[in-house]
């Protein structure tokens, strides 16, 4: 491990963070609160971060020949931790979230696009802090390293390592020869979609401030809202618009790019995307049916369907917005929603979870094992669309399955030991590991994580990070081999 490289690059990433910390000041400028304590908090934090950035870059030197995979993994993990630590400072300084554990939990929840909150209501925060939460989600959506690769001067092949260490999903999606160009293209699409979403919200009648915040957190599949009841009080139009953009954010961005370049058919041929749509349709239909059986349709079918589709899309994309309390849905739906939380969105999207493509991969791997049992001398390959998946990747995805299940069990176990109910523990664990946000029971859509013990909050903070980085990037640092010189 070459610490000099890691710290130098961390310095570069902090420059980006310092710039981001200045963004909420625009709100202060607009609201004429530039002399207020929130503006001061952001200014101080930004200045400090910038100083740190300069210091790191001056003291440590970057030598590309020393930069390898272990360094890349270390930088990615370190970057997320540093961003969280510094990002939580304004909350503490302003005294809006005085407790350090809570502030870190809230920031990590933001930057990993989880959307779980320790606040009883977002209204505890003022407007610059609300925007800061949304900005954290926007940046975390596509990944802070992806952002840095896009905006910082070329890291050469090193950028490639970094990008891979942070990217989500089992496959790499590189369309362009240069990784920085690829990062720019993805960010271009991401920003474009966000702007489109802002426009759509404005047209549907949302206030400009809320439009910006919600667009940031929708495309990032984050889930932080500016109102206490999330999306429940918004008009049906706004809710449907949100469904569309959440759905898009959960689609593989590389696939969206190929649709934009005129190859629309690739979308409908894509196995992962078709399964993703299939799950949404089936689970929504089941939600509609079970709820119709339980309580009928007093307000007609549109609200029933809208409520079901909104919740399902919100959960499968791991956004976590709510229009209604699915905690009150029949128990069968709780079980189904737990599966949807675990499943997550498409690989290469901003969503979390295990990813639909891995689900497909596991399913096909099982099919292969069954065929092998019948024909032991047979040679079978796992194929998705026309691509043969190498055994190495199949194995890695199975290792991923084991890790995610182990983490889920361990986290739930710890939460239960702190006195939470079984349903709370199990759902809170997967809601954080998959970066969804709300769970069931004590952490349901209308509840929050404030009542958890400090220990539980730290554990869940770690769970969010490890889940967002898809386990391997972080766990690899726990092996001695990564630290050897």
């Amino acid at each position: 491990m070459n610490f000099s490289c890691v710290l130098h690059l961390l310095g570069r990433l902090c420059t980006v963070l310092a710039a981001l910390l200045l963004a909420p000041l625009l709100v202060c400028l607009h609201d004429n609160t530039l002399d207020g304590e929130t503006a001061r908090a952001f200014t101080i934090t930004a200045a400090g971060t910038f100083g740190l950035a300069i210091a790191l870059r001056l003291v440590f030197r970057f030598r590309p020949e020393r930069f390898h995979l272990p360094e890349a993994f270390a930088i990615v993990t370190a970057a997320w931790i540093v961003f969280t630590a510094i990002g939580s400072v304004p909350f503490v300084i302003t005294g809006r979230i005085p407790n350090v554990v809570d502030a870190v939990f809230e920031t990590m929840s933001g930057i990993t696009t989880t959307g779980a909150s320790i606040l009883p209501s977002p209204l505890v925060l003022d407007r610059p802090l609300l925007l800061w939460r949304s900005i954290l989600q926007l940046v975390g959506g596509l990944g802070i390293v992806a952002l840095s690769v896009a905006v910082l001067p070329a890291l050469g092949a090193g950028g490639n390592f970094l990008f891979q260490a942070e990217a989500v999903g089992p496959e790499e999606g590189k369309l362009l020869p240069k990784i920085s160009a690829m990062a720019k293209l993805l960010w271009g699409l991401y920003v474009g979609l966000t702007l489109a979403n802002i426009g759509a919200f404005l047209l549907a009648g949302m206030s400009p401030f809320d439009s910006v915040n919600h667009a940031f957190t929708t495309l990032a599949t984050g889930g932080f809202a500016t109102k206490a009841d999330s999306f429940a009080s918004y008009s049906p139009t706004i809710q449907w618009v949100t469904v569309v953009f959440m759905f898009l954010a959960g689609t593989n961005f590389v696939l969206l790019l190929s649709v934009l370049s005129g190859r629309g058919k690739t979308l409908f041929r894509n196995t992962e995307w078709r399964v993703y749509c299939g799950i949404i349709l089936v689970v929504s239909a089941m939600a509609v049916i079970t709820r119709y059986q339980a309580e009928g349709a007093p307000d007609g079918f549109e609200p029933l369907v809208r409520g079901a589709v909104f919740s399902i899309v919100s959960i499968i994309t791991t956004t976590g917005f709510g229009t209604e309390d699915f905690n009150l849905w029949p128990p069968a739906m709780h079980v189904l929603l737990l599966f949807v939380m675990f499943c997550g969105a498409c690989g290469g999207s901003t969503g979390g979870g295990a990813k639909v493509s891995r689900l497909v991969l596991w399913w096909k791997a099982i099919g292969r094992e069954l065929r092998r049992l019948l024909r032991p001398t047979g040679v079978f390959v796992v194929k998705i669309q026309d691509r043969t998946i190498p055994d190495g990747i199949v194995l890695k995805s199975l290792a991923f399955l084991l890790i995610i299940l182990t983490s889920w069990v361990a986290t739930s176990l710890y939460l239960a030991s702190t006195g939470q109910s079984a349903e709370t523990s199990i759902s809170a664990a997967i809601a954080c590991l998959s970066c969804v946000g709300p769970g069931f029971d004590a952490v349901g859509p209308t509840q929050n994580f404030a009542a958890m013990t400090d220990g539980a909050k730290w554990v869940l903070t770690a769970a969010m990070l490890i889940g967002r980085l898809e386990f391997f990037s972080l766990l690899v640092l726990l092996t001695p081999m990564a630290w050897r010189r």
Binding site: G378, V379, K383
Partner: protein, 498 residues
């Protein structure tokens, strides 16, 4: 005709030998002087040492005034470029051997053949796969040829005892299977070749040549193999050829592909979605059980190891496979066919030579194929306007013995003709001729009645005036024909009026 051939490998060698025997002037280009010497010692041919993509070699071979250029080296790119160069030097017909599927894919060719100046390309793998698939479609058959764009098929089979065809006059056979378009067109009995009439009978041990339409394949399968569907094919050898065969067959039947090498198996499994790929030897009882070798309709041995192929194919048959096919590069193996328990041998190179020859002979005849080792030939021709046969029934033509019209394709319909079938201009006819009658057959169908046919050439008045396009086409053909003085346009005019 003057022909330049690039590439003196085994395909080039056989091509030179066949075309040379037909009296063409041939120049052969190859980089390897030793290989050229090998050819020169055996065949009267001009050899040029050098690469087929060099001006010096092409010019010394006389490409500038040759009629046809055939590139059959083992490198696709060299073949394509050599043809392109020959085209640029003025050669009208160029033939390239091209193996890469991306180039030869008819729906989405990677290159623009017309712009490159390649008249025709032939993919050796596809040609050989075609013949394997044709054998599987018609189990029990040996030599094969497809005519009239695949609508008319020629299959040969060995007449086995106690099958439905033995001992009956062919007339009876035709009555038994009335409505089915087939015809026993030639019989090989020992050294003797017979073009049969209705009274001849098939005897056990005969090799019968049957011509039929594609729709009649199921009946053929019943006559020869006793059942009309192929359910399971086992292919041994997961190399390029085996994979290509399995890939084509998996669309119509269950296919099992066996190989001892795991890497090859994995690659094959990735390429073939509907084939069961087994890793192991066909001699292994696990592999036999899982691949259900005993119930296979075909065992196709297509590995690189020739001896292995031979032995495994025979063993497979002992274990219950109904028929076996051996793929081999050894031309002498065909001679062992009747001695060993092997139903058919496919030699990709010879198949390739056969296909190349069909195009090379071209001209007024669409294609020619020899029947087995006999000298009898199958000639496919388009009936020209004004040909003696045009507008007449077969009976009226009074065809000589040893010349038989086996099948006719009129517009889109293929059928086996009888005495009252009227042949029209534009029809495709497939004829069987014994040695010495080929020229006569060509005159009858493919050429206008001229000179010594003029006195009986009434047909020409029936078919009306010649269309300009047709005339140009014909002139082109005659030019390629070269030596045929009687066919030259100037002498046709008076004959036409006569």
């Amino acid at each position: 005709m003057k022909i330049v051939i690039a590439g003196a490998g085994s395909v080039g060698f056989h091509l030179v030998r066949e075309l040379g025997a037909e009296g063409h002037n041939i120049a052969l280009i190859d980089v390897d002087p030793e290989r050229l010497e090998h050819v020169r010692d055996r065949i009267d041919v001009l050899t040029v040492a050098g690469t087929a993509t060099s001006r010096q070699a092409l010019e010394s071979a006389g490409v500038k005034d040759c009629d046809m250029f055939i590139a059959v080296s083992d490198k696709d790119e060299v073949n394509i470029l050599a043809c392109s160069a020959a085209h640029a030097m003025g050669v009208k017909r160029t033939l390239a051997r091209v193996r890469n599927r991306d180039f030869t894919n008819p729906d989405r060719p990677l290159v623009d053949w017309v712009r490159l100046g390649v008249t025709r390309f032939i993919n050796p793998d596809e040609v050989a796969v075609d013949s394997v698939v044709a054998l599987v479609d018609a189990p029990g058959s040996i030599d094969v040829g497809d005519f009239a764009g695949g609508e008319i098929l020629l299959r040969s089979f060995r007449v086995e005892e106690d099958t439905a065809v033995v001992g009956k006059p062919l007339e009876r056979l035709r009555q038994d299977f009335a409505g089915v378009q087939f015809l026993v067109a030639a019989i090989q009995r020992g050294e003797q070749h017979i073009i049969p009439d209705g009274q001849d009978r098939l005897e056990p041990g005969d090799r019968a040549y049957m011509i039929m339409t594609r729709d009649s394949l199921p009946v053929f399968r019943r006559i020869v193999a006793g059942r009309d569907v192929v359910q399971r094919v086992v292919v041994y050898g997961a190399e390029r050829f085996g994979i290509a065969v399995a890939g084509r067959l998996q669309e119509r039947t269950k296919v099992v592909l066996i190989d001892e090498d795991e890497t090859r198996c994995t690659r094959a499994a990735a390429l073939l979605d509907n084939t069961l790929v087994l890793h192991g030897s066909p001699n292994d009882s696990d592999v036999q059980g899982q691949g259900k070798l005993a119930s296979a309709d075909f065992f196709i041995a297509a590995s690189r190891n020739e001896e292995h192929n031979l032995i495994l194919a025979m063993l497979a048959k002992k274990r219950g496979a109904r028929r076996n096919i051996v793929v081999t590069a050894d031309p002498d193996l065909t001679m062992l066919l009747d001695r060993l328990d092997i139903d058919a041998v496919i030699n990709p190179r010879l198949t390739m030579v056969g296909r190349l020859l069909r195009f090379a002979r071209g001209g007024r005849v669409k294609s020619v194929q020899k029947l087995g080792e006999s000298n009898a030939e199958v000639i496919e021709m388009v009936v020209r306007s004004g040909a003696r046969a045009a507008g007449r029934t077969l009976r009226e033509m009074n065809l000589p013995e040893g010349l038989l019209v086996g099948a006719v394709k009129h517009e889109d319909e293929a059928f086996v003709p009888h005495g009252n079938t009227r042949i029209e201009q534009g029809d495709v006819v497939v004829t069987f001729v014994l040695p010495g009658l080929r020229d006569r057959a060509e005159r009858m169908f493919a050429r206008r009645g001229v000179l010594h046919f003029a006195e009986t050439g009434k047909g020409s008045t029936d078919s009306g005036p010649i269309q300009p396009a047709d005339a140009a086409d014909e002139a082109d053909d005659e030019e390629e024909g070269g030596s045929a003085g009687e066919g030259d346009p100037a002498s046709q005019e008076p004959a036409e009026k006569a």
